[in-house]
Subunit: 247 residues, 2 copies
């Protein structure tokens, strides 16, 4: 699950390590991310300006308040997006998984912080490259718009979750979300959902306290909606999805 490489762990929050990993032609998210719009010749250009780097666990590639002028495509691993209130209260506003990206636009000040939950691989482009590429593939910007739109809709679902759902519903919705993003691995009927993040991050995402989240997991297990709950995965019972409104 974790990559061991000679990371550059010195430097500021936003510094990446200096390992340039490999090129687009081998990339396993190429077909699912925005990159799929690019022609072969453009991919060659990408290879030139792009920096594929390892982001060690815990490192931020973007920090709330700091300027940002790069677009990042997450190729491997997962990340956490957070916002803070002055008094230190933290809200996790989302998670990123393989194929997702951040920083669609140059901003003088990032609206949130993005940190690696485990050792991640990212591709980083300067934004000006996007403008170049858009000249020859006019759809590119449409795709960016579509993606922003998707992000916005996800945010709205999150708003509904926080505004209207009970603790139990929140946890189940969260598992749905993870299953959609990471899922697919249904061995022998039951679905084991890997949890890339610690409990505190989940709680901060769901607007609950750590303890409430833990209690809710226990309750759902007791009720039979969850078959197994461990530190880094949850197994849903197969009828689980049918028993509650699938929100």
């Amino acid at each position: 699950m974790s990559v061991t490489s000679p990371f550059d762990t010195s430097g500021g929050d936003c510094r990446l390590s200096n390992v340039k990993v490999n090129s687009c032609s081998l990339c396993d998210v190429r077909s699912s991310s925005i990159c799929r719009d690019l022609s072969l010749s453009e991919l060659a250009q990408v290879d030139a300006v792009m920096a594929r780097r390892v982001v060690p666990k815990g490192r931020a590639i973007m920090s709330e308040g700091e300027p940002n002028d790069h677009l990042f495509v997450l190729v491997r691993g997962s990340m956490r997006l957070t916002k803070y209130l002055e008094d230190g209260r933290r809200q996790v506003t989302g998670f990123l998984f393989k194929g997702d990206f951040i920083g669609v636009r140059t901003t003088k000040s990032s609206a949130y912080t993005a940190e690696a939950l485990d050792d991640c691989h990212v591709c980083r482009f300067p934004h000006r490259f996007l403008d170049e590429a858009a000249k020859t593939s006019p759809d590119l910007k449409d795709r960016l718009i579509a993606r922003s739109q998707t992000e916005y809709h996800k945010a709205q679902d999150h708003i509904v979750l926080l505004g209207k759902k009970t603790a139990e519903e929140r946890v189940l919705s969260f598992l749905d979300l993870l299953e959609g993003a990471v899922g697919g691995q249904r061995a022998d009927g039951d679905r084991e959902i890997p949890l890339a993040m610690p409990r505190q991050d989940i709680a901060d995402y769901l607007g609950l306290r750590l303890e409430t989240l833990s209690r809710t997991f226990s309750l759902l297990r007791k009720k039979g909606l969850l078959k197994e709950v461990s530190r880094n995965s949850v197994t849903r019972s197969d009828e689980a999805s049918a028993r509650l409104p699938s929100i």
Copy 2:
């Protein structure tokens, strides 16, 4: 505050009335909305394809689940964006004010419902017109991306509000928001903020019950943070903004 016109109040949820109001050249949001990107000749094109209509109070211009292929610019009035859970619980995900727009992109199924809080004027374009216009003003799509980004950031602030703030903080943040969107009218030191929406909408936006919202308003008045609370406006005391973390 309300326009009296011979509205077409029959027909489905999404039907607008048939009143074509006037043209871009007179539009008072032209400088603040996406329209400001358009050249004079493009504006002439806009006038041709655009439909400026009155949306009577309560009417929806877009409904959750219904297809949408128009972009709407809100020229006058304000609107409410809502999402529903199956069991009828309703979350207000945002409000739109003069100059805002919705429907940046053709979708087979809208993610939310947009309804008029009072009699509104909107401009409506087919999306294909945007593509036309983008050919000659390449920034147009960048601006759309920027706007989507802004919407996303607002959604994230909403997420923080719902996930981490107390009832009191939520109400004050909401007033900040309104002041930013509608505000500006500071007569004699105190700031009177018009409330275009009923209490239930505010409560559903803030993730509170009607009664809790009402109690919180009363409490804030008692504490002196609000000078006056009435059905359709709130007056903040001038030191109010200094006393709490300005989130």
